[in-house]
């Protein structure tokens, strides 16, 4: 890893608590989390009091805090389930946010070393990205690597990185049909690389292990897309996929980079893919319609901030996707509300 000194005051770690007892999760992460401020948001549908071990600096938000902040807008965006963490994004005032699902623990690299996922995300976010030309040796700013012969010199200073997408060992983020068909499939391959996902290339952003520059792209992480029967397993949601498309479009438009690769986290076994499959899985069909839309989406030159971009995307969603399915109309509305909430949070 490069010699980058990490300023802990610039970072919030946001944890969406979908289970009451966070003890084992936080103990596993203690060597890393204890240096930072944590924002813990309890899923508003989760009844009871969270169990959080001692020795951490954290701010805790529960249903009453969420309701209090939303005020009259409490019918618009839902912060239940995995979306609870977005409230944490709203509350943060830091430059960088790192978010990790509460069923993930630190991974070990191929040499058996403990992977500090937070440090790696911060390195990714604080070094330039290179979205305009593919470097075949991956991240050129990594120690021991560089731009290869043929990489245009004018593109070598790179651009700011807005989003850092990490990966998962053990239970990878596969969809339910895939995991159901291959129940034994586990990800054991540690790919020692970070790379910039090229501009105008879409990708599925998994919310399980991400970091982002809140100052640059915060508003673009929108909790907008909910399935009717959304559940508490990643196999039963697509909220992060929708969010990821929005963030990628925004980053491409604002000439920011999105990185993918390291760090890995170790994702524990949870749930049953076949059970998830049995639920009505409308997300698949819906996302098929959504892909061409996002791939061809271009924003106007006057959209100069993430807020502007989100507003514009919302308007286009309303115009082009909403007529086909009311879930898109709701998504557009949520995105508009989100921008309002974001502005409100900034003036707190």
């Amino acid at each position: 890893m490069s010699e980058i000194s990490i300023n802990c005051d610039e970072v919030d770690i946001v944890i969406g608590a979908l289970q009451l007892d966070l003890t084992s999760f936080m103990e596993e992460w203690r060597p890393v989390f204890s240096q930072f401020n944590l924002i813990i948001v309890q899923d508003p549908d989760l009844k009871g009091k969270l169990k959080i071990p001692a020795g951490f600096n954290f701010d805790l938000y529960t249903k009453s805090d969420i309701d209090g902040f939303l005020g009259s807008l409490s019918n618009a965006i839902s912060f239940s389930g995995y979306c609870c963490r977005y409230f944490g994004y709203l509350m943060s005032q830091k430059k960088y946010i790192i978010a990790i699902d509460d069923d993930c623990i630190p991974a070990k690299d191929s040499a058996g070393n403990f992977v500090d996922a937070v440090a790696q995300h911060i390195i990714n976010l604080s070094t330039p990205a290179t979205p305009f030309f593919f470097n075949t040796l991956y991240d050129p700013f990594c120690e021991g690597a560089d731009f290869v012969r043929g990489y245009p010199f004018s593109l070598r200073s790179g651009v700011d990185c807005g989003l850092s997408c990490g990966l998962w060992l053990n239970l990878a983020d596969l969809d339910a049909p895939t995991q159901a068909l291959k129940p034994e499939l586990r990800n054991n391959r540690y790919v020692d690389a970070v790379l910039t996902v090229p501009a105008r290339t879409m990708m599925p952003v998994s919310g399980i292990n991400i970091g982002f520059n809140r100052e640059l792209v915060g508003p673009a992480l929108v909790p907008a897309f909910r399935l009717a029967k959304e559940g508490n397993l990643r196999w039963e949601t697509v909220e992060d996929i929708w969010t990821g498309m929005c963030v990628k479009v925004v980053c491409d438009h604002l000439r920011l980079g999105v990185k993918s690769g390291l760090p890995y986290v170790w994702r524990k076994e949870r749930g049953n893919a076949i059970e998830s499959l049995k639920k009505e899985w409308e997300g698949v069909k819906l996302m098929e319609d959504v892909i061409p839309f996002f791939q061809s989406l271009r924003l106007s030159t006057s959209a100069g901030t993430a807020e502007d971009c989100v507003s514009e995307i919302a308007a286009t969603v309303k115009e082009q996707l909403a007529p086909a399915n009311p879930v898109f109309a709701r998504a557009a509305e949520s995105m508009v509300e989100w921008v309002t909430l974001w502005k409100r949070a900034r003036t707190r």
Partner: protein
């Protein structure tokens, strides 16, 4: 769903469908190390430089060898498109091959070891890459979904999971990395020690610097695009041959709906060329490149370009029209591109195969 895992059975040898093309000016001693992996295959050796020199091929290899005299004899006046005193001459080997697949490797590239210490059969990995689909329309965060132990991630559109045919497999290098001269001068001791266990498709619409040191491709799908340009003796530029071919190939692959993969396999690159010599060869390219990249990034090919040759000739036209004013060299290069296609078609008649359909 990902395609059926071909890796459950062993990778086919393809020994009658693949030629190994090696440019050389010195000797072929490096083949000894590759013997266990290369011996089943036919080699096409393109001897650069002095044709009166005899290149010793280690015993036991089945090969054909072409020196400059042979190239001149076979191509006549069209031989002008084949570079002299530059490894770009290797593309003559592609033209003269009759096989479906080509693997090309430099004579200073040796067998690398993976992190477990096992020797890497680079050719086998290239074959795996070429025989499985690519996924250029949407980026899979777990890299090549067709590899053993991987798959498409949640959120990857099902309608895109069939993939497209793979035209090119671009391998990498441990030890001496493929840096340009300025970088070599600044970091003479840097070695690539990072083994990145991934293969991935380079997304549609994204360019990359292709390196010809360790490269496989489907000659039937993309062969005519693999022209390595005018380099070396009498030319103002060198070390841009493979990159030129790579940009043309990528644009054409994007147009025809074909995929290009990069990543594994690694070879061990043993020789660092002289950075001062390299700088002299490259320096014009460093400036010209700033014009070339926007050119390739904005190139569009008309819908009626449905074969590689048609695409390539159209590209040649646009090179002349738009890059001719950057330097006279590009007029010559555009002419050479046309000559190349003429020579290709002459040596490979009736390859009116479907090279992929223009999307």
């Amino acid at each position: 769903m990902a395609a059926i895992q071909a890796s459950k059975s062993s990778t086919p040898l393809l020994k009658d469908e693949l030629d190994i093309v090696i440019p050389t000016i010195r000797n072929l001693d490096f083949l000894e190390m590759w013997r266990p992996f290369f011996q089943p295959y036919h080699l096409i050796i393109v001897q650069d430089g002095d044709p009166s020199k005899t290149i010793n091929v280690p015993e036991g290899f089945d090969y054909e060898l072409y020196n400059r005299n042979d190239i001149n004899k076979i191509l006549g006046p069209k031989a002008s498109c084949i570079s002299f005193k530059d490894s770009a001459c290797r593309c003559f080997g592609y033209m003269v091959s009759k096989k479906k697949y080509i693997f090309t490797i430099d004579d200073d590239c040796f067998v690398a070891k993976d992190p477990t210490g096992k020797e890497i059969n680079a050719l086998e990995q290239h074959i795996k890459n070429l025989l499985s689909p690519s996924s250029p329309f949407f980026f899979n965060t777990l890299y090549d979904p067709y590899r053993d132990g991987a798959d498409f991630v949640r959120g990857y559109p099902f309608s895109l999971r069939e993939g497209v045919p793979t035209a090119v497999s671009h391998g990498l290098w441990l030890n001496i990395p493929d840096y340009d001269a300025p970088t070599q001068l600044v970091k003479p001791r840097e070695r690539n020690t990072r083994y990145v266990d991934a293969v991935m498709t380079i997304p549609k619409g994204t360019l990359f610097p292709m390196c010809g040191m360790n490269l496989g491709f489907n000659r039937e799908l993309i062969g005519p695009a693999m022209y390595f340009g005018l380099m070396g003796d009498g030319q103002p530029i060198g070390r841009y041959d493979d990159m030129w071919a790579g940009w043309c190939t990528k644009v054409i692959c994007d147009h025809l709906g074909l995929g290009i993969k990069t990543g594994l396999p690694y070879i061990w690159h043993s020789k660092a060329s002289n950075p001062f010599v390299n700088l002299k060869k490259e320096y014009k390219g460093i400036y010209w490149q700033e014009e070339l990249i926007p050119f390739f990034q904005s190139v569009t090919l008309p819908k009626d370009c449905t074969t590689v040759q048609k695409c390539y000739l159209e590209l040649a036209k646009q090179v002349k029209a738009k890059l001719g004013k950057v330097d006279e060299y590009f007029n010559k290069l555009a002419d050479a591109m046309v000559t190349w296609i003429e020579a290709w078609d002459e040596l490979n008649p009736s390859t009116g195969l479907a090279n992929g359909s223009a999307k």
